[in-house]
């Protein structure tokens, strides 16, 4: 089974700071890590490879230092890394990013499965995975918590939704995004780290991908960030006390007031 894993390098903090003037992330002085959700994607790919054989290609789009993320993925068991990196791609929103990544995936070659983390811990949009599937015109299954069966032509997976679970069977090739319940990412081996240190990382720029220039970078990005702000914290609410019948009466009155 040939698997492509798309990963993103993110700042190692849950308290992301935003530059109020440019509305972009402040990355200075913050250590970069692989997006935690993508670690589950890498681990699941390695587990599938251990079961069925094949090859794992990891792709990331980002600045040159994102190479470190690819090497870390290789130390966990991936075979090769591709860094999609070009000034022309700067300022991409999720749509342009998924378009660019889909171009890179076509370049990398035939695949049976694409795995992404459900979302990135910095942007939290959960749009790039589905976007890639759309651009490649392949089926997508999001929020996968378990791969129940994987065959040559199809795969049965369990999705985790807010209100329960769904079992979905999808033809391959397909794209899945995974949630943290799917596995526990391994610690790399020393042999893996040594292999990763000397592994070749292939750089892919606009020249290699030859994408539609109207669909990449800032001008290919329909999203306009108008304002970024922290939503006000939820207030405490009101706790009703007393006998059940009494509370029910009070509650009904409150709802009535609210409606009026």
């Amino acid at each position: 089974m040939n698997i492509i894993v798309c990963i993103k390098q993110v700042p190692e903090t849950t308290e992301v700071r935003i530059n109020p003037e440019t509305n972009t992330l402040i990355r200075d002085g913050v250590k970069s890590i692989i997006n935690p959700f993508d670690m589950y994607a890498i681990e699941e790919a390695v587990r599938l490879k251990e079961r069925f054989g094949g090859k794992i290609s990891v792709i990331t789009m980002g600045p040159p230092q994102a190479e470190g993320a690819l090497r870390e993925a290789i130390s966990m068991g991936a075979d090769e890394g591709f860094l999609v990196c070009d000034r022309a791609f700067a300022g991409s929103d999720t749509w342009a990013t998924s378009y660019t990544l889909s171009g890179a995936i076509r370049k990398v070659g035939a695949f049976d499965l694409i795995i992404c983390g459900k979302q990135a811990s910095d942007g939290d949009t959960a749009q790039v995975g589905p976007g890639i599937a759309t651009h490649l015109d392949i089926p997508q299954v999001t929020y996968v918590k378990k791969i129940e069966e994987a065959g040559e032509k199809s795969m049965r997976v369990e999705r985790m939704l807010e209100e329960g679970f769904e079992i979905i069977e999808t033809p391959l090739p397909a794209l899945i995004t995974v949630v943290k319940e799917i596995n526990e990412p391994r610690i790399p081996s020393l042999k893996g780290m040594m292999r990763a240190k000397s592994a070749k990382i292939t750089m892919l720029g606009q020249k290699d991908l030859n994408l539609d220039t109207n669909k990449i970078g800032l001008c290919g990005s329909p999203t306009q960030v108008v304002k970024i702000f922290t939503p006000p914290q939820r207030q405490g609410g009101q706790i009703l006390q007393g006998e059940t019948a009494e509370i029910a009466k009070q509650l009904a009155a409150l709802i009535k007031d609210e409606v009026n």
């Binding site: 610690i187 790399p188 081996s189 020393l190 042999k191 040594m194 240190k197």
Partner: protein
């Protein structure tokens, strides 16, 4: 201080650090309480090639390198001295095979040990043969194509949990120390059972147990080296493994120092963090200096062994002696800095102190280390 580690050594340190922080620290207090064997951590360490650091590449390891082993043991011990010793004791039990095993023995035992699928233990100590190792009573009598072992070993680290044991027994009582031989004994061999599991002050995640041999028949091919070489096997093994105990002590000291440093910056008394008081700063300064001196000695000794230097007995005795005394002092001072909280189990300081004590005792008490150093000193002076 920069110890000019190679890229590979930095990688080993980084990986061991990751295992320590993500897998060992969160479970250290649990295993200290339950005294269960930390199989989950051992599995991770095995899959990460950590057990390969004391095994040659041709037998599935990463190459024998004492400094690498010390780096891993130090990092593990920063998080838990008990879990670290489960690892280091497997190295101790494996060294006799690495150093004296023939190709057939190495092929049979080392690949599984290199992957951590099986762990090893070294069986030397007996109730009446501690520092006086020549007083061992366990016997091995050759009968045809096998040996029959009888006797009892105690205080054996990894006892009961290890699969592969290297055991020293007397093949000729009349020859004293020269009548001892070393054998490989597999768990499950008829006549080989386990006795009392000790309850300990510290390093409680590691198992310490009796090995009982009752007409235990092992194949003659399990003899390591030749008959009568048991003590040479033991001494050469200790030369390799002693820096590991020193590294364990060093890691405990480092962990205790970090614990005290962190606490001193959080704890406010008289309106200031206690780290702003000179009394605390001087304690921390002394602790840090001693830890650094211990590290320099341990690494230097490990490097000398790796470079193939002869007569490292004195150096490794010094490293073990100094690092373990530092661990005891620094961990005691860490408890002092934490004050009343340091004495309570809610904070890790008291565990470092309990874990530190054994490093002054095992693999040769510090008094025995001083004997080794003193004897060598006088010998050198007489030259």
């Amino acid at each position: 201080m920069d110890y000019l580690l190679t890229d590979e050594q930095k990688m080993i340190k980084e990986l061991a650090h990751k295992i320590a922080e993500e897998k060992i620290r969160p479970v250290a207090a649990k295993y200290d309480l339950t005294e269960e064997f930390p199989w989950d951590v051992i599995k991770v360490a095995g899959e990460s090639d950590m057990f390969g650091l004391f095994i040659p590449e041709e037998y599935g390891g990463m190459g024998v390198n004492v400094l690498n082993l010390c780096l891993a043991t130090e990092e593990f011990s920063r998080a838990c001295g008990g879990i670290a010793v489960c690892y280091a004791a497997s190295a101790l039990g494996t060294f006799p095979i690495v150093l004296f095993g023939n190709d057939q023995q190495k092929k049979k035992y080392l690949p599984d040990l290199a992957k951590g699928k099986k762990i090893a233990a070294f069986g030397l100590t007996e109730p009446e043969a501690g520092s006086d190792a020549a007083a061992i009573k366990t016997t091995a009598v050759k009968k045809g194509d096998h040996y029959v072992l009888n006797g009892m070993k105690h205080f054996i680290t990894n006892g009961g949990d290890a699969e592969t044991y290297t055991v020293v027994a007397m093949t000729d009582k009349n020859k004293g120390a020269r009548g001892a031989s070393a054998f490989i004994v597999e768990k499950g061999t008829p006549g080989f059972t386990f006795g009392k599991k000790e309850e300990k002050l510290g390093i409680r995640a590691s198992s310490t147990r009796e090995l009982i041999f009752n007409d235990c028949k092992i194949p003659a091919e399990n003899l390591l080296a030749k008959e009568g070489m048991g003590f040479i096997v033991t001494m050469k093994t200790f030369d390799m493994s002693r820096p590991g105990v020193a590294a364990q002590a060093l890691g405990i000291a480092q962990g205790a120092l970090e614990c005290a440093g962190k606490y001193s910056r959080q704890r406010v008394q008289f309106g200031k963090p206690i780290s702003s008081f000179q009394g605390i700063q001087w304690m921390l300064a002394d602790m840090a200096t001693e830890v650094e001196a211990a590290r320099a000695l341990v690494y230097a000794c490990a490097r000398a062994i790796d470079a193939g230097c002869k007569d490292v007995g004195r150096d490794s005795a010094m490293a073990k002696l100094f690092a373990s005394d530092v661990a005891m002092k620094v961990s005691t001072d860490a408890v002092q800095i934490l004050g009343g909280y340091g004495y309570m189990k809610d904070y890790p300081a008291e565990k470092y102190m309990r874990d530190a004590k054994i490093t002054q005792i095992y693999e040769g008490t510090n008094q025995i280390q001083r004997n080794i150093i003193g004897l060598q000193l006088i010998k050198d002076m007489a030259k």
